[in-house]
Symmetry: C2
Subunit: 402 residues, 2 copies
Amino acid sequence: MLIVQKYGGTSVGSLERIENVAFRVIKTKELGNSLVVVVSAMSGETNKLIEYAEHFTSTPAKKEMDMLLSSGERVTAALLAIALQAKGVDAVAMTGRQAGIVTDSVHTYARIEEIDPSPMKSAIESGKVVIVAGFQGITKDGSVTTLGRGGSDLSAVAIAGAIGADQCEIYSDVDGVYTTDPRIEPRAKKLDIISYDEMLEMSSLGAKVLQNRSVELAKKLKVKLYAKSSFSDNAGTLIAEESENMESVLVSGVVLDRNQARVTLRGVSDKPGIAAQIFTKLADCLINVDMIIQNSATSDGETILGFTVPQSELQNAKTVMENFDHDIKDMDFDEKICKVSVVGVGMKSHSGIAAKAFSIMAQNGINIQMIATSEIKISMIVNEKYGELAVRTLHEAYELDK
Amino acid sequence: MLIVQKYGGTSVGSLERIENVAFRVIKTKELGNSLVVVVSAMSGETNKLIEYAEHFTSTPAKKEMDMLLSSGERVTAALLAIALQAKGVDAVAMTGRQAGIVTDSVHTYARIEEIDPSPMKSAIESGKVVIVAGFQGITKDGSVTTLGRGGSDLSAVAIAGAIGADQCEIYSDVDGVYTTDPRIEPRAKKLDIISYDEMLEMSSLGAKVLQNRSVELAKKLKVKLYAKSSFSDNAGTLIAEESENMESVLVSGVVLDRNQARVTLRGVSDKPGIAAQIFTKLADCLINVDMIIQNSATSDGETILGFTVPQSELQNAKTVMENFDHDIKDMDFDEKICKVSVVGVGMKSHSGIAAKAFSIMAQNGINIQMIATSEIKISMIVNEKYGELAVRTLHEAYELDK
């Protein structure tokens, strides 16, 4: 098999851990596989470099930041190649540029535009293990770029697509995707398999195993993703296309997101374009809006508009709304809330899953402030003090611990 | 003026020092100059990375070492550009590749083959201060290379030549070239000016201000070099072409090299080719031979061959000589020696300088074991315990403290 493995910051966080990764790579190779290994910076390095830059200014130029930040992954890639060579493995380290990764020129958050797979392919064909510095590429005119937080996952998935790898394994300190956060519900179970869409919902809801951009890209490129731990030999979780088999599982997971704050605007006049103006203003101020709920207008032509924003952006959102030109009768801001979500592709073909969630909440005396649903997700905003209780009872109700 | 400034590891050894460099750059710019600034890695960084690699093997692959080691200068270059931008200066950071530096493919000790000055020139023309990561370049086929220890000086000189700079200023923690090591002779004086050739002799003899490769390159490209301190506003020392004015100074400096060991081969048969065989064998074992002395043969057709090697290589040299095929009657190895040298372009036109040196040594009861001279240098091997005394008395005899 042709395998792409990606090791995150904690997995390469010390020289001993890099050596441990070298042993894993060797084991995979000895099973007859060919490998491209994508690495992050050693944990703490990227933050250290950011702090260095912020010593001088809180708004360093993004082009220079990219030159600064891309150095961490280069160090790890070179060290892993050296560690492998020391064990007799023919390995070669490549920067993003050398691996043929071309991005757009949006510095610090670049998108991969194309990958020329030939340098990696010819190294693989000559029997080498290819080590690639993740998180980086270059623009067509030769500037160094980085792909944003979690960018090494993205590098790995894009490379897997470009070289036609059979699978892409993302290693971290977590051994897969769980039915819920085990710190909240100790009976949480690791999932063997989950669909791309479920994973997208889970990770956008705060399950940190995989970044959404990489899951999206994996879905687009049909790359089979494995989330695995570099500290164990557990099988991990396969993230792949939906299969009929999957739909027999009604619910895959329950996710708690504590980082949301609620904004409720009452008495918004129900005229076309008001909502557009509100969300354009928020977007202009770079405020990320998550859930948006609006019901039909009341008989007096007014409506209630609710939405959530990250807690860190609530103050900005408040300022924006208080300076909004149009009349809004009443505004209510609440950061003492959280979002509980039930995710599962089974919802598509089975009814009653939402009803069950609402009943469970009612049985436990938990008031649901807002509800939003998608094809494979039900999200509920509740008072933050009920967050963990909601997760545990939903987890049990859908028999996720079985 | 168009000025290239190069700041070494100690000069950029902390965020505060990088900020200090930023202020110096601004001062130079405000005087109406255009600038390219070449930076080293923050002090300690390169050694840290070497230690990391040596955790895995004592012989890491040089290609990967170059990828590893080149990261330190990139960090400094990006940080200095960010520091300047924070102070309102339009600055741009470039890697060796982006600055157009193309080298041969001798990894970890590459030679600069050519520099395409256009990226730097167009940035300068648009009013930018250009910050270049020193010590690095890329090969024609895109591999990252480094230029060896002191390589950032070399980057600076080569850039100064390529862009036609008026002068190249090398900043370190020393404020210039001294008549001798001030730790040995406190009355040592800073030289205002010294010729390239004298500087070459001084630095090959152990004066650490500038590396020989960069002085050689400066001489070849006719780049006016200044050795200056980044911690003071002293004028520093100008290293330039010899002028008539310089020759009126008989002696520029006295240098002590403690790192030599002596090998004396007695009863070497005076046949053509024996010396060639000896030094070929030593070269094959990568032993650097410094002084070589051979006198005319004695009446019985035998000769004495003496040479010096770095102390760290004496054991290897011993092994080589003990396994040498031809008869050598007696071998003598001594690491308790040092080399004292008197350097000055004035020697070319003035006689009696060597005689004075030998008298001084005799007056102080110092036995000279070996003598070698060049046009502008007299070197003497003496017992190591006399090294400092020799330096001080010679320094006084040539009135270098005046």
